[in-house]
Amino acid sequence: MMLPPSHPDQATKWENVILPPTKDLHKIDVYRQGGGYGALKKALAMKPEEVIEEVKRSNLRGRGGACFPTGLKWSFMPKAGTKAKYLCVNGDESEPGTFKDRQIFEFNPHLLIEGTLIACWAMGITAAYIYIRGEYGKWIRMLERALEDAYSNRLVGENILDSGFTTQIYIHKGAGAYICGEESSLMNSIEGDRGYPRVKPPFPAQVGLWGCPTTINNVETIANVPVIIERGAAWYAGVGSPKHPGPLLVGVSGHVNQPGVYEMPTGVPLLEIIHKWSGGVPGHKGIKAVIPGGSSTMVLRGEALEGVRMDADSLKAAGSSVGTAGLIVMDEDTDLIAVITRIAKFYYHESCGQCTPCREGTGWLWKLLTRFEAGEARMSDVALLMDVANNIEGNTICALGDAAAWPVQSMLRQFRDEFERRTVDRPDDAPVSA
């Protein structure tokens, strides 16, 4: 029997800035009445370098999974040059456990459009693509409507707010591939090519979309930009954990009473998120495991959650990562073998098939795991499973290979006994299935 982890007394106080509770905020008039597009005006009055400097000082780190410092990324873009430059806003959002960008499309689309425009101004970009997963049909239409309104209010397009600055925003609909969320694959997809990741280097800031300098940012990352400009980098840097500050959209799923997306400062303890923000575990059951940041991040044991916070450093120290802050909670009765088999199936299904270790390895992992699930694996398969995952990790073109390996590796490290219990005593040379 698992000990129920201790409950924090109360939830951290936070007033939403990314998803404020304003009614009809998706309507441009409502958005503007509340000061919307004010940050854009402010930014257009600044020099582009000053905007980048401000974002650097805010310590904003990317919300797309890798926590890369956004200001630094922007500063990689060449200042001058004859080539066009592009911004891709990544709304492919296909990672299991991650569903937070959708809230922005639905409840605050103009914040995203405003952030996109500020980013374009900062980097001297005249065309931005917002790439949205095809399954988000409803949200694509919502963003399209918001964009039309922004165009008709002359906030996008020619001579924005009479500043002389011109930029276009295009919405690009994905066709249902997780891999198209990987930044280089996303660019190929926009170009009309097959969603195959590119070998790096060269990096997108040198050779990106149509061979031109390109920045790729997550939807939520971009949505933070107007907040930084409006309230100032100092304010922003003071929110939450200093090294990974700002408001964070945490998507909670699994065994909690109130699953959903919660906006909170970074650094909130995971147990607080589970018990205070998400209403605790149904039936007051113990927590067997959590996956803190979307299915690609390493699993943590329930007993090990004490003191672990939702930010890059704390989760790294705990042996995982913040990823996209998609917290998956599994109670004490969860069949983790079924969980990891399902996750492995996802990566098998989504591997683009370009490079050998991921193409072949993801299928092998899944096939092995189905044998564990069916109770037909041998003891030697436990080591084999680990070996296959290790052989994928670090040897592939893009991070999907790692993303497929990490959950399996961490599950094996944290819950090896569960795998061993699912094996049958069978000589090594006996056939796989009876």
Binding site: V199, G353, T356, G394, V432
Partner: protein, 561 residues
């Protein structure tokens, strides 16, 4: 010059070059499937992972550019483990059908499985199944299960053949190579993807299932399809040519050849209708005779005419040696000035890659060794005019079916004597009085000169009655070597055909001149002595890569030791 250290040895590393490039240039093999020196790198197979000091992960040698001071390990434990892993991954879904796969014996995957894998698989699950026997185009067949998705064929079609019709569909292990809707792989270079394919996924519809690789001998040769003279290998089993494949020569054809050259230039060698003895017309019929009789007959017939009633046509399909002896014999011994040849130019049928409008491999060489219009403009047109008006009564033709051209056929009936060298009966032999059974490019030694003035050698790959595979030093297959007397493949049928130069030399001897050539090389030696642009060359110097002729009027290149 920046330096890079690979496996403890330090090399010059010009900026922008890749690790695999520098390693290859210095004789260090880094195994790879998707990389090819002539295609843009793809980095997908992961076989070339190497350890680079200060890099956190293994790096792909094919796309990692060298930097000054870089230290690379290509055989460290980490590298070997990754290589074993990649090999194991590649093999888990690969069909184990080597025993029936055309590629076996020349398969990169099979070779590497011996060289770079642990030799066993831990995979016990079901393999993925995919389409087999997919027709990609008229000449190429695809087995998707064997494909390792290296994309070499896709890149070749896009970048070299400029026919971007191949692509992948589906994802993961289900990826399928296919053609775009309503397209097929039917460009003139389509079959190059067969050798590019590191496995047996792409096979030749012409060669499929004809032979195991090790049953055939492979001989360096030159394609006779056009004036490019692509370097080739001639593959023979049971004394029969089964396929031609391109042989790398950067100066001539790179790694490629065209489908026509590959498919249309060797079938006649094997043809059942090949001549296997000289023919002499008796009572209106061409009848097989012995060589001595045919040669004596040819000489006595020729002697019936005055010098200026005799003309001779060389051939762009014959070797330099043949053409040289033809013009020598007719100019010096017979004494006519009427020597030329028929050109075979198909206007407009050429491209930027390989294909040339001149559809012979040697017109340049024939001209160079003296088959060209005489001092008073005695050329093909005047020869044909002479035949038409009856002033020319005897014509001697090397290997060329000149009557295929109706304008030529029209006048041949006027001749009193027509002697031809031919491989089989054709439109010209219909008119001939004497036909000498000539051996083909695949049955003799010789040289051609391509349109770039590059002298190139070809060697016998198919035995005739006058030469033996073992005694005459042909390349041999394992079957050839180990055949017992009663093994069929050790014999095969051998035709009684002779090289044109040897037939001409025999004529000269009967004519009373001493032509002391034992081998084609003897004739070539005389060419190098008498034709200035060939000066300094030898068969050895021409080698398997060829040598360029000196420009007319300049000093010839010095011979290579």
């Amino acid at each position: 010059m920046p330096k890079v250290t690979i496996d403890g040895r330090t090399f010059d590393a010009p900026a922008g070059r890749t690790i695999i490039d520098i390693a290859a240039q210095n004789g260090i093999e880094i195994p790879h499937f998707c990389w090819h020196p002539k295609l843009t790198p793809a980095g997908n197979c992961r076989m070339c992972l190497v350890e680079v000091e200060k890099m956190p992960k293994l790096a792909i040698a094919c796309m990692t550019t060298v930097a000054d001071g870089m230290v690379v390990q290509t055989a460290s434990e980490k590298v070997l483990n990754a290589r074993h892993a990649v090999m194991e991954f590649l093999l888990i879904n690969h069909p184990l059908d080597c025993p029936i796969c055309d590629e076996a014996g020349e398969c990169k995957l099979q070779d590497y499985a011996y060289k770079y894998s642990i030799g066993e698989s831990r995979f016990e699950e079901d393999k993925v199944h995919k389409p087999k026997r997919v027709e990609l185009g008229p000449n190429v067949l695809l087995d998707v299960e064997r494909c390792i998705m290296c994309s070499r064929c896709v890149r070749f079609s896009d970048e070299i053949a400029h026919q971007p019709v191949l692509t992948f569909t589906q994802r993961g292990t289900h990826v399928v190579l296919t053609t775009f809707p309503d397209t097929q792989l039917d460009n003139r270079y389509s079959m190059n993807v067969i050798e590019l394919c590191p496995v047996g996924a792409l096979t030749s519809r012409d060669f499929r299932f004809k032979a195991r690789v090790w049953e055939m001998s492979s001989t360096d040769s030159v394609c006779t399809g056009c004036a490019r003279g692509c370097n080739t290998n001639v593959w023979v089993r049971n004394n029969e040519i089964l396929r031609l494949t391109p042989r790398h020569n950067e100066e001539v054809n790179s790694y490629w050849m065209c489908d026509d050259g590959r498919l249309k230039t060797f079938k006649h060698v094997n043809a059942a209708e090949r001549l296997s003895a000289p023919l002499v017309r008796k009572e209106g019929q061409l009848m097989e005779t012995g060589w001595d009789e045919a040669i004596a007959k040819a000489v006595s017939e020729l002697r019936l005419f005055r010098k200026n009633e005799i003309a001779a046509l060389g051939s762009g399909f014959s070797s330099n040696e043949d053409n040289y002896l033809l013009q020598k014999f007719f100019r010096e011994t017979v004494g006519t000035r009427l020597v030329d040849l028929v050109e075979h130019v198909v206007e407009g049928d050429q491209d930027d890659l390989l294909i040339r409008a001149d559809k012979t491999p040697n017109t340049t060489g024939a001209r160079e060794v003296g088959v060209r219009p005489g001092p008073a403009g005695e050329d093909l047109a005047s020869i044909l005019q002479g035949v038409r008006d009856g002033s020319i009564k005897a014509l001697y033709v090397l290997e060329d079916d000149i009557a295929a051209d109706p304008a030529v056929r029209e006048v041949l009936g006027n001749l009193e004597l027509l002697i031809v060298h031919a491989h089989q009966r054709n439109a010209t032999t219909e008119f001939a009085d004497i036909v000498f059974a000539a051996s083909t490019f695949a049955e003799r030694n010789g040289t051609f000169v391509n349109f770039q003035r590059h002298v190139q050698r070809f060697r016998p790959a198919v035995a005739t009655q006058e030469q033996d595979r073992a005694l005459d030093g042909f390349n041999m297959s394992r079957w050839d070597k180990f055949a017992a007397h009663n093994d069929r493949w050790g014999r095969g049928s051998r035709r009684d055909a002779r090289p044109s130069w040897r037939i001409l030399a025999a004529l000269a001897v009967v004519y009373g001149v001493k032509y002391r050539y034992q081998t084609a090389e003897d004739v070539f030696r005389e060419i190098t002595e008498r034709v200035p642009t060939f000066k300094g060359m030898s068969y050895l110097a021409v080698g398997s890569r060829g040598r360029t002729l000196a420009a007319a009027g300049t000093t010839a290149p010095a011979p290579v030791a």
